[in-house]
Symmetry: D2
Subunit: 322 residues, 4 copies
């Protein structure tokens, strides 16, 4: 399938490279960017013409309009997360998708990491029973630039949103209540941007499962990404990988290497699998595995988390207005 | 030093056995129990006479009076946790200790586990910086009898109290706010006893550290006890031990053994170290390492947790009346 | 059962302490030593009178005579390894045991370590198939005194003998050929004692399994003890335990604690289980689990290893004369 | 740099793909194969013309002639291991390289695995002292076809040759003596081909280090590749990676995933690094990191191993005739 990539920033270039060389059954149809030196076509419409699938990798504020345009052009759509920071915008975009009847996928790539997938499989396969507790640690190696934070929607919408997705993914249960705490402990300038860099979120799921998430914008030991589900029959967890398996034992103890530094060092294979699963679904005429509902729910949870943090109380999901 | 043990239930017999055979510098002076067949002396006063140190291992509701009596008799006192379920009672007992000027220690043995101790050492030694996040999982293998739960003060006072202590221990910072969620997921009869069997507690410390604790009364894979502290320079964690180090690899994957089943299978060495540290402090005329303040604070946190759970909101520590 | 301990050196005192306090169903009948200040009875015969079982923990050169005496006294006998450095002596002792028809056990305690036991269970339970390769690493933390080495029979009889036992234990197959290499790399004075401190031994078993053993008298990182069996259906291994499960992650990597320092730090539970298994067999009138044949075979392998090392060629087991 | 690939079998296609898409600073100049449908040029000479570097990935019996031809054409040469099964042939090829003064590299890619590299770094950096013992386990997932074994030189030249290289790599010391044992345990037909499928090799190094290697043609649990170096200051090891970091704990114990299945699943990054290091050396006018001496020594060790196996005795390296 011919995939055209909109946006040639870091994530757009990554998708383009993987589509060109590593995703089975994919062909890179071309790329468009507002910077013409990074583009192979001169206009969005030209890219539509060359492509069966459009991958939207531009800045978040352009996603909704591009989704609408691609949907009207009848293209299958893959959009990087989040669709929007605004729930009404997101709903407008997803309504266009539904009206056009085109396949839609959202880029929660971590679902395709085999370790996180093993946690979900243990739950779905009944090996640990219905989850009672989930705990997620998700810590980035270094804080993003302040400019990014000012437009990203803050920690709950640019970072924890992956964890909200993961909580839904491994439990298979929707979130009904959110309690969030946060602080500026790493980068004082985030205060001015209205953001926090250290946070804890407690989610209550529809089925009673309690999920705790902790985040930091800065983990100097690398990209810390762990998910754990606990139930009446056992516990399943994705531990952190290390950069290699060498170990040195001396009289002082044992030394192991660091964690992978960031998502490019850990999650590349999950991007490849994400594309292969999306394209397989499109080809088969099936709903892509991470689709419209999965795009909407984490945004709502994130908005509830912000309200909880501001108001110092648990917030019900239905309190978030569209 | 001659140690007399009050109470010959499970924990009393354990202390007596360790004092008799494994604690360096200790001598078991005798035991008293209301069941005379389990006692070596006929009255509490007889035990006082034989002993330099009194270990109080009776049921919780008798602790305060026995502390007062032992303090008046001028004995060094080691008391199993908790001192009381009632803060006024606890304050009365600790006031007697202070008035008598006798050494007092409280039995939070997990502080003497080398893995948890390594987390604390990493914090105190500056290896990870000032903690920003702590996460604690603490799950028992099987629910206690309903009769126990009815008088134990419930999950936050009989079980999570260890984790409240651990949060203070590894951070070195007092708790100022508590938010708790809980549910009955394992043993429906706990509902009638006013208890929960599954819980999550979020603590805010004086220095801004955020601690998440998750508990279950039943972890079928064994005694799950993990503590982790995260700071600007790194992360320190105590992982679960396994019952042994054998592994089998087949075409289906690798198999490892279970976790230790319960505290007797994991924490015996910590009880021995607890005694050796307590006796060394008494001998040296120093305050025992886990003393009056450490007996009081976790009870207050536990009472705040119960209020938070009932009222569905975060509770400040100062809201708990003495 | 009443157990009398002969010899109150390090290992004798260990057995006496365990028998007195930790071995279920055992009672310490008394101890005899040539140093009367370490003994509870004045003569070997007195100990025989008080005991159902005699534990022989004296120096190796006295084992054979004591076995003969205890056998004639009709006592069940537990002997620390090795029975003798001389095969004819060993045969004389075991002949007396057989003639008397008394139960006999030899102290290869590592068989009762649960991790090594898991390797054996994986083999016997058919999980990995018939072993094709076994590898054993066995490294002591620090070299023994030169005086000990002069009378111990050297590395193959005082140290590797445990590994020869382990090779037979996990495979369930006798050794038919031995090839040994060794060198003095740690302690030059061992050269004068005719010993080596670094060695590799390759065993060929009756069933075709090939076992490699490597030894060092000095592993500065602790007591390194690993056994691995490989077969057509998989691989089973006992990994090294660490002193605790604490880990610290920083920007430089992860740090883990050291290994246990020596056998007292790792194998105490195996001594307890060894006794419980021995006494259970005696009680049931069954052959003890590690008996006469297990005492003889490792000595023969050790003598073959010494010949192989000296002659620079593989040596068949039948070349070792009684 | 423009690299032309000779041979488009499995390994040739792998190199071509990596050079085209993943090796920094490389450009795939073209490929030649006897099967024209797999080639981009019609003759070897055409490839020489297009290329700065020639990668020789054809069958082993053609390597020597192609090396000579490429050397005469003045090309930098990268050759898959082994150069030849015949020492005289190898010497002829390497003589041509030397005469032409062109850069030459041999494809021992495992040197570029970060875990094995960490073992070497620990040795070279002095962290464990001068190695006294090395142990290597190297087990393939499934036996190769009989047709391959008939022409491959057998286990010591097609498989253990990597381990001979690794022993030299991690110790930095040449091998002086070889003792080998082997058996057919997996695939009876290998007997007719004069090969074994299960083997143990003991190497003595110039500096006294003793290396044990064990091999199996079939490890059903995956590609088992471990290297360990032991010295007076510690021990360094490369453990097996697992396919992911998910773990499931139940009442029966813990389950982990399998090992990577084969070299394509473990060593791809090492091929990329191998190329980048080779091209960097060529660019800098330096000797490539794995060069002529590294191509010759493992072949000599392999030939000595075969002689040792046949004659049942240790074989000195100098016994192997050129």
């Amino acid at each position: 399938m011919r995939v055209g990539v909109l946006g040639a920033g870091r994530i757009g270039r990554l998708h383009a490279d993987l589509l060109a060389h590593r995703v089975a059954g994919a062909e890179l149809a071309g790329t468009f960017d507002v910077d013409p030196t990074l583009a192979t076509v001169g206009a969005v419409e030209d890219l539509f013409e060359l492509s069966d699938v459009i991958a939207i990798c531009t800045s978040t504020d352009t996603h909704a309009d591009l989704i609408v345009a691609a949907a009207r052009a009848g293209k299958a759509i893959f959009c990087e997360k989040p669709v929007s920071l605004d729930l009404a915008e997101l709903d407008r975009a997803l309504a266009a998708v539904e009206e056009a009847g085109v396949p839609f996928g959202i880029g929660f790539n971590r679902r395709f990491d085999p370790a996180h997938g093993a946690v979900r499989d243990a739950v779905l396969g009944g090996r640990i029973g219905e989850p009672q507790l989930v705990r997620i640690s998700s810590r980035d190696p270094a804080p993003p630039p302040l400019d990014y934070v000012r437009v990203s929607g803050g920690i709950f919408l640019d970072m924890t949103i992956h964890d909200f997705d993961m909580a839904r993914f491994v439990t298979g249960s929707e979130v009904v209540e959110v309690y969030a705490r946060g602080a500026v402990r790493v980068e004082p300038s985030f205060e001015d941007a209205g953001d926090v860099d250290t946070a804890v979120v407690l989610l209550t799921h529809e089925d009673g499962c309690l999920t705790t998430i902790d985040n930091s914008r800065q983990a100097v030991y690398g990209f810390d990404q762990r998910v754990e589900a606990f139930g009446p029959l056992g516990m399943a967890a994705s531990e952190n990988p290390l950069t290699h398996t060498g170990v040195v034992h001396t009289a002082e103890g044992a030394s192991l290497p660091t964690l992978p530094y960031f998502f490019l060092d850990r999650y590349i294979p999950s991007y490849v699998r994400e594309w292969e699963a999306f394209l397989a679904a499109v080809r088969a005429g099936e709903t892509p595995p991470v689709s419209a509902a999965d795009a909407r729910a984490p945004l709502v949870i994130g908005l509830a988390a912000w309200r909880s943090l501001r108001e110092g109380r648990p917030v019900r999901i239905e309190e978030v207005p569209a």
